[in-house]
């Protein structure tokens, strides 16, 4: 298991390098730069700026310098948010997304898993149909419809909750963004759980467990649960990253200071270092969570463990 982990971690290094290199050169290839604005700067000012940020050097040297910096954990200064480093921006924005994302993820598992399991156990009953129809709606209705609706009903009309803002993460401000983020996730988790549970419950080894006279509770918890979790784990690897890094739409609608908006602003303004910083962060999270999913696979399934 430890050797497997080390090997996977070793693989993460070239993967990250490829991502850094590709995004570095793709960004430079895009037309314009961080300081080409509508109003042209005087040539002398432009030259000074470029010298300060080393943009006057050949691209190759800039690349080397950048690699050296990120190896020391320094993502450099932001070109657009003046006198702020990318590290500071991420440190500011990431906790917002992590808080909301982690809550949404936890709720999705806590609600979605039992919902899906019950639907599987009561297959083809009213409970099954109603919860799966609900899940279908949860998946199909986009965030930008649900969010304004909830704001209208719960904030504007009923005055129960604030319509937006962060307020240093006060619980009342978390409710709506978390709800909007978790609803489709609950739906996905429930559908996935139902599907895999139905399949497992029809498998020959479940028939064997029943033939042994085991009570249904044991059949379910000891024999069916672990195998039924496997598809959920493969889904959760990438889905967790998506949720934890926040949704640009949710940030925008609720006016949250997350990193999603930095990503968009950075890309529009050719803020090279900011875009690179966020990209690398996402890439590392994706690698980490896929690794976590693989480890969980190994923990659950002895056949995976041995390979």
């Amino acid at each position: 298991m430890i050797r497997f982990l080390l090997r996977r971690l070793a693989w993460a290094i070239p993967t990250l390098w490829v991502i850094v290199t590709l995004s570095f050169f793709m960004l430079r290839a895009a037309p314009g730069g961080p300081f080409t604005e509508a109003r042209r700067l005087p040539p002398q000012v432009m030259a000074n700026l470029e010298r300060m940020y080393h943009l006057n050097e050949p691209v190759w040297e800039q690349y080397e310098r950048y690699l050296g910096n990120i190896l020391r954990g320094d993502f450099g200064p932001s070109y657009v948010y003046r006198s702020t480093t990318v590290n500071q921006l991420i440190a500011q924005g990431l906790p917002v997304d992590l808080t909301i994302g982690a809550l949404a993820l936890a709720l999705a598992l806590l609600i979605g898993m039992p919902l899906g399991m019950l639907a599987a156990l009561r297959q083809n009953t009213a409970w099954d149909y109603v919860s799966m129809a609900g899940a279908m709606v949860g998946i199909s209705v986009p965030t930008f419809v649900v969010a304004p609706l909830l704001i209208l009903l719960l904030a504007v009309k009923a005055h129960w909750l604030p319509a937006g803002g962060w307020s240093h993460g006060r619980p009342a401000h978390l409710v709506l963004p978390v709800a909007v983020l978790t609803l489709p996730l609950i739906a996905y988790v429930a559908r996935l759980m139902r599907g895999s549970m139905v399949e497992v419950l029809n498998s020959p080894y479940i028939r064997t467990a029943r033939a042994k006279g085991l009570p249904e509770r044991t059949v379910l918890l000891r024999h069916a649960l672990k195998p039924a979790l496997m598809p959920l784990i493969s889904f959760l690897g990438p889905a967790a990253v998506n949720t934890l890094t926040g949704s640009i739409i949710v940030e925008e609608i609720f006016g949250l200071p997350g990193i999603g908006r930095f990503f968009v602003d950075g890309a529009l303004n050719r803020d090279y270092t900011l875009v690179m910083g966020v990209t690398i962060l996402y890439a590392m999270l994706i690698i980490a969570f896929n690794l976590l999913a693989d480890v969980l696979y190994g923990v659950l399934d002895p056949r995976v463990r041995q390979r």
């Binding site: 028939r207 064997t208 033939a211 042994k212 006279g213 009570p215 044991t218 195998p227 659950l300």
Partner: protein, 330 residues
């Protein structure tokens, strides 16, 4: 030893499907005696497996069983879930065709064995473990103690089936139902498993029901044979009687379609013409009539009842003449 252990009366199994009901088993009457090996043969869809799944309460959700099944005089058909958990795996056990998929790949072999004793006998894990080591040894698995902490995928097919048998016998059930126990195994392994079943039957006096489409398996192990066709019992006899003096055209067809080594390789393998009937429809006459070389007008109109021919030989057929080549020409 002739007292009957299991009494089946008028057993019917029906499945509700989108295209209407499917009649998988009809009017089945039979007994299993203590300590005997009862073979049940038939082709796919003859109802042989569904009969025993119904008795174990393991029918698919759309399946319904009717009639009466008594185990040691006590009615056990359609028991509530709670009562089933006390009966299954304790007084009667069942093993299945494919030992590769019949064991849970996520649990150790030991866990899948000890849980039976923990549940039915209230043993501690440690006590159960000791018993399981003994059980594995009795099915000739070496290094039983180490084997218990291994997972099913580390076992060969034959070994898994031995483990299944050992698990089924942990509680010393009166009845062991084996549904195609050797079909998924190599021929040599098949022979070992059959020898093992025979040995265990003699040692523990367990009655064994052997459900199979393989007449060779029946010939090796069974005392009595029931031939099923389209959800009905068409012939029942002692194994020697059946092979020597069968009295049903379908049995004849089955026996003739067994490949033989003493015939020239150029000889065509005998087959039964036609296909098994659609179980969604229930013809008025004999279900085998469309495929039967001896059929008459009576067969088309009337279902032949199961009647005794004496000496524990029963059959359901209107035809009275001789079977075999001479019968066909007559």
């Amino acid at each position: 030893m002739t007292a009957s252990l299991l009494e089946i009366r008028n057993l019917a199994v029906r499945f509700t499907t989108g295209d209407g009901p499917v009649y998988a088993v009809n009017d089945l009457d039979l007994q299993v005696r203590r300590g005997e090996v009862l073979g049940m043969v038939g082709e796919s869809g003859s109802g042989k497996s569904q009969t025993w799944l119904a008795i174990m309460g393991l029918l698919a959700k759309n399946g319904r069983a009717e009639g009466s099944v008594r185990l040691g005089g006590e009615e056990i058909l359609n028991l509530p879930q709670r009562a089933l958990t006390r009966l299954r795996g304790a007084r009667m056990a069942m093993i299945f065709q494919d030992p590769m998929t019949a064991m849970n790949p996520f649990l150790t072999v030991g866990r899948q064995m000890t849980e039976v004793l923990e549940w039915h006998r209230g043993m501690s894990r440690r006590e159960a473990r000791a018993r399981c080591i003994g059980a594995l040894e009795s099915v000739h698995i070496a290094d039983a103690a180490q084997r218990l902490s291994m997972y099913p995928h580390e076992f060969s097919g034959g070994m898994r089936q031995r483990v299944m048998i050992a698990t089924a016998l942990l509680t010393e059930p009166q009845l062991l139902i084996c549904d195609e126990p050797t079909t998924a195994l190599d021929v040599t392994v098949q022979a070992q498993i059959l020898a093992l079943l025979d040995e265990l039957r003699q040692r523990f006096g367990t009655a064994i029901v052997l459900v199979t489409h393989d007449l060779g398996v029946i010939a090796q192990l069974a005392d009595r044979v029931i031939v099923m066709y389209a959800g009905r019992q068409v012939e029942q006899a002692e194994v020697h009687t059946l092979y020597g003096a069968y009295r049903h055209p379908y049995t004849e067809g089955l026996l003739r379609s067994v490949p033989r080594l003493d015939q020239p390789r150029s000889a065509r393998l005998a087959t039964i013409p036609g296909r098994p009937p659609d179980l969604a429809r229930r013809p008025a006459g004999c279900p085998f009539e469309p495929r039967c070389a001896y059929a008459s007008e009576l067969c088309r109109q009337q279902m032949p009842p199961l009647v005794s021919l004496g000496e524990a030989h029963l059959r359901a057929c209107h035809y009275d003449g001789a079977l075999g080549p001479q019968g066909r020409e007559a």
